[in-house]
Symmetry: C3
Subunit: 185 residues, 3 copies
Amino acid sequence: MKSPTIFVTFFLFLFFLTSSAYPGMKRQPYPCKNLVFYFHDVIYNGKNAANATSAIVGAPQWGNLTILADKFHFGNIAVFDDPITLDNNFHSTPVGRAQGMYFYDTKNTFTAWLGFSFVLNSEQHKGTINFIGADPIMVKSRDISVVGGTGDFFMHRGIATIMTDSYEGDVYFRLRVDIKFYECW
Amino acid sequence: MKSPTIFVTFFLFLFFLTSSAYPGMKRQPYPCKNLVFYFHDVIYNGKNAANATSAIVGAPQWGNLTILADKFHFGNIAVFDDPITLDNNFHSTPVGRAQGMYFYDTKNTFTAWLGFSFVLNSEQHKGTINFIGADPIMVKSRDISVVGGTGDFFMHRGIATIMTDSYEGDVYFRLRVDIKFYECW
Amino acid sequence: MKSPTIFVTFFLFLFFLTSSAYPGMKRQPYPCKNLVFYFHDVIYNGKNAANATSAIVGAPQWGNLTILADKFHFGNIAVFDDPITLDNNFHSTPVGRAQGMYFYDTKNTFTAWLGFSFVLNSEQHKGTINFIGADPIMVKSRDISVVGGTGDFFMHRGIATIMTDSYEGDVYFRLRVDIKFYECW
């Protein structure tokens, strides 16, 4: 009798460790995949058409389409197609493009809202990663949601931790994006 | 022999009750967390700069940036930073901000599309909740998706049921948001 | 002893087959639901107000709101309310509306970013499906994320494969959307 009892006990232990005994509650504190990228944004200001990777396409009534608006740029929408690199060098070979939009959405500090995709196409990674979330820019490290993916990132979900790695006036910024996938498929 | 057989049978029962025996099919009709909030939107109309919490930042060719456009506001995009309260009183202490955008997207009735985050920062809740979805405004109760979260809402998913709690001309509205999380982590 | 041992072995096999023994890793290569739709977009060009289902509502500094901009329409945002049909005929009875936005986001080729919902209301389907993702328009078949749903599509997630089924100048396009749900609830 001993051997099956031990077996079953071990089994039960395993079972409660891993199955969804409490529907809707998951645990899982470890990422199943972790990737770090940088992306680089050069916003169009009327003079840098050749280098710009983004442009203002929406503004409040008190703004315009070449200069970020007063009141912490509240209401400015920018569309971007930014190079993604593996290190913090703007001139490194891109491994993909960050494509989407951000808009500034507070009148008394700098915050933005992000909706964008990583379109990766390199030896290591082929596929897309889709992000949305609030970006309180002045906070050193902030989290947004990874809501889906395709290709190598089929159905993935997770959290992306964003840090402003460089900021040069209103023309250039570089973000470090630490992507932690908690659902990998 | 009896005891292990019963054990195993009970075990099997538990197993089929809780594991994903049919890949991709989940059950789980009960929310693992349920929260109700209100948020308040005061749209900029050219005269209320001090009080406005949102502004028109995009309009169709027949519109402008201070008056919501003809044809049920079709094409108007608004960016917002709205206070979130626990009750329906605009003057209650906010527990966070609703930040994002909505845009009107039908020419023969009022509907909108929403992309926004709850940025909560109170004793009870610290973290963000990310939403997208269609909002058929004239319907009493409508559902959008909770597609992710961070902090206290790490990786959460669910459904948010929205009701228009108050509507004053084209200047103020208040939404009641009943958030039901079905994935909690 | 034999019978329980076989039982347990079979059980273990089942267990590893179906449970999340490796937290965060899922398998599941088969859709739990598969639906194909078409939707039809007629963009407003200043002359087609009666037929248009979408309109330009954002443009870069070098653009305007009736003609798609130079540089592959970079920065143009369009809001849409497009009929969804079961076949590729614009005049078929719609089963719902595709509502949301797309914006062009590359300066040297045609790509877009999509954020929209299917609002379905037919005999077969009642509910909404929410999508976001990058759309490299010139690629024959491209994948975006299904990040949530409501009603019949409560909490669903999956992948939508998009193909341009027709394209007539800058006025009309039709997309075929093959929705594969991998999480169904």
